[in-house]
């Protein structure tokens, strides 16, 4: 039995690197410091969905084949394709992603990653206006106003607040954990009183849920860190906030633009924006301008609602404008643990962060044109390789239908929605558990991922699988070049 410390968790963009694992007989048996999702991955990765050997579809069924056969078949498909897509990349290491770029360039296809269904709009917004941002430690040390807009860290990034924002100790700001605990106690006390009152009076109807905005509460005047959550519904994160602002769905753009006018003491011709009375917005504007260091974290609530990348653009412009009054930053809550890395690796090797089209021999980038979702919906592709992601589960139905009309190569540890649809399936080892590598946190900080156990026999790393396919593609292309030379001669 051994204890491995300072393990980096391979789940979400938080990339918590203080996980402690107890390993016994090549299995992780205990997880310390991790959130529920972290624990479930480290304890459950060996489940019965694990693929044990390479598979190929023959007569409609996936049957075990040798690695050589699978590699050769995959390489043939890619080498001969006219417009292949190589998609995913977000749950593997930067070392594997680098080979991915090389392979995509070699086969003249598109390299795209899961940002295309997630924070791609954030990248597009940044490309329009830049981004005033920082590493998470700056937030921890300095931020006294923390805003989560269109995201729910309680559910999706569970340790975000305790490691980086409201509930952590910094050099210049303290944790608000105690204050939050007191608030919970008070709420529990209040709830008990209310339920007692109901029993007393004999009323069986619960009080109607009011969604009207109560205006800025007193808690926003306290010293220390303040937490604001902006969302269309009262999420679990909103329950923790000092101030919850409920915004009408698809109206975040208008709300942010209104704030931009208000923070410069401008006047609006309207009484409310996005369901929020302008007088409350003026209080919000004051809070924004009067903090020492503010931050907006945002998620799909902005990237995937009406406006998409323009929502991010306006959020960044708001933060940018605030910098003329105080210090303010903004950061996207990246999902997959290495989607940031996929963008980074793609950018340093090609110049572009995702949706990179190598079909003309040099990198081209134009989301909407060269992103795989759009290529699939227009049925332009003729082969796909999917790695470290599950588009079968989360792409629009039409895109998946079009994807499986053509050969589909899948590299994944698990039998999931995508691998079930694959024509060639390679079982891969888990990065951060069975294979070491590097990942990039949501704030672009690189962290090492450890290998704590051995992968199952016959299961290789993404790096090895990709390298083998790349080498085989080169062999096939070289011999077909020779052949065509002979034919021409």
């Amino acid at each position: 039995m051994s204890i491995v410390k300072s393990v980096t968790c391979p789940i979400c963009g938080c990339l918590c690197d203080d996980i402690e694992l107890t390993v016994e007989k090549n299995e992780v048996v205990k997880v310390r410091n991790g959130c529920a999702i972290c624990e479930s991955k480290f304890l459950g990765y060996k489940g019965h969905h694990r693929i044990k050997t390479p598979l190929m579809r023959k007569d409609g069924k996936l049957v075990p084949v040798s690695m050589d056969e699978a590699v050769h078949a995959a390489a043939e498909i890619l080498a001969n394709a006219n417009y292949p897509i190589l998609y995913g990349w977000s749950s593997t290491s930067s070392e594997a992603q680098r080979i991915g770029v090389e392979l995509t360039e070699e086969v003249g296809g598109i390299m795209d990653n899961t940002a295309v269904v997630c924070h791609g709009p954030s990248i597009l917004g940044v490309q329009e206006v830049g981004i005033p941002t920082c590493t998470l430690g700056q937030i921890r040390h300095r931020a006294d106003l923390i805003i989560y807009w269109g995201c729910d860290p309680w559910s999706a990034h569970p340790r975000h607040l305790e490691r980086y924002t409201s509930f952590t100790e910094g050099r210049f700001e303290n944790s608000q954990w105690k204050s939050y605990m007191q608030k919970l106690k008070a709420q529990a006390g209040q709830k008990k009183l209310e339920s007692a009152a109901r029993i007393e009076i004999g009323s069986t109807h619960p009080k109607p849920q009011t969604c009207t905005l109560p205006g800025m509460p007193q808690s926003m005047n306290k010293s220390g860190r303040k937490l604001i959550v902006v969302d269309v519904r009262k999420s679990m994160s909103a329950e923790m906030a000092d101030y919850f602002i409920q915004v009408q769905p698809n109206k975040d753009y208008e709300l942010m633009q209104a704030l931009r006018v208000l923070i410069t003491d401008g006047e609006l011709d309207v009484d409310s924006v996005a369901g929020v009375p302008v007088e409350y917005l003026k209080d919000v504007a004051n809070a924004l301008v009067n903090c020492e260091f503010g931050v907006i974290f945002f998620g799909m609530g902005l990237t995937q609602t009406a406006g998409k990348f323009r929502n991010i653009e306006i959020a960044i412009q708001l933060v940018r404008d605030l910098n003329s009054r105080t210090k303010f930053t903004i950061m996207p809550m990246r999902g997959h643990f290495n989607v940031t890395g996929a963008n980074i690796v793609s950018a340093w090797q090609s110049g572009y962060p995702y949706g990179v089209d190598f079909s003309m021999g040099y990198p081209r980038y134009n989301p909407g044109e060269t992103t795989c979702m759009d290529v699939l919906l227009r049925e332009e592709n003729d082969a796909s390789l999917v790695i470290a992601s599950d588009p079968g589960a989360n792409f629009p139905k039409k895109a998946v239908e079009n994807m499986i009309k053509h050969p589909l190569i899948v590299i994944d540890p698990h039998m999931n929605a995508t691998s079930m649809l694959g024509d060639i399936v390679f079982p891969s080892a888990f990065v951060g558990i069975e294979v070491e590598g590097t990942a990039y946190r949501m704030d672009h900080v690189p962290l090492p991922l450890k290998k704590v156990v051995e992968p199952p026999k016959g299961v290789f790393s993404d790096e090895e699988i990709l390298t083998r396919i790349l080498n085989e593609v080169r062999v096939i292309k070289a011999s077909s070049k020779k052949l065509s030379k002979k034919v021409d001669a």
Binding site: Y253, Q257, D269, A306, S359, M360, D382
Partner: protein
Amino acid sequence: MIVLSPLRKFTFPVNAECINPDVFQGKDIAEIGKLPLFEGNKQKKLGELFKIEEDNQDTPSITIDGDISEVRRIGMGMKSGEILINGNVGMHLGEKMSGGKITVNGNVAQWAGSSMKKGSIEIHGNASDYLASPYRGSTEGMKGGRIIVDGDVGADSGAYMRGGLIKIKGSNTGQFLGFHMGNGTIHVEKNASTRLGANMTGGKIIVSGTVDELMPSFTIDSVKAKVKVDEAESAAGPFYVFLGDLAEKGTGKIFVSKANNPNLKSYEKFL
């Protein structure tokens, strides 16, 4: 003069920058047939994808008959000449053109007329997203020329416009029409969608039909009886005139038909 007909339906994108009157100029059919282009990741010759014939002198420099919705970058950067397309055409049509004329009897895909400098594009069908809008990260919007669309227009069109005229006759325009516009005119003969003129700093947008909602960062300035669309044409009002975008300290103007937008009556109290 030259008539192109696609030899088959294209499934993979065809990047055909060579289909351009300036490029065809002075070349015979054989030479035109040898012009290089890409279909997917395969380098091909124009003659492998299109039937190329010569027509009489009076017809446009290039006529294309057939569905070429996968053919992109036609007329890119063209300085003169005419292109007539009888069918639906792919992305980046007439991008950065600085002269000449393109007519489409069909629909156009995204980025038609992107960063146009001069010339004219007439679309007798629908335009898609990003009409006249510049490339990612660039602020070089349409500088001059005219784009007329008989049908609808998609989202994010006319972004960063700096000059010229866009006329939209169809009943639907996407969000963010005229985004960050600095100069020039956009005339929507029917209905405009939300976030019209967001981040606008100058120029004018005229809506003769309805608009769902205006950005809260626009303020009502006046009511005007009519407004000039270009040298030849005026639009009849009366129009509410809105000034904005206040968030950019902009002095752009949005003219909205008073008669067709009773929902905007509440602004009158600020006049």
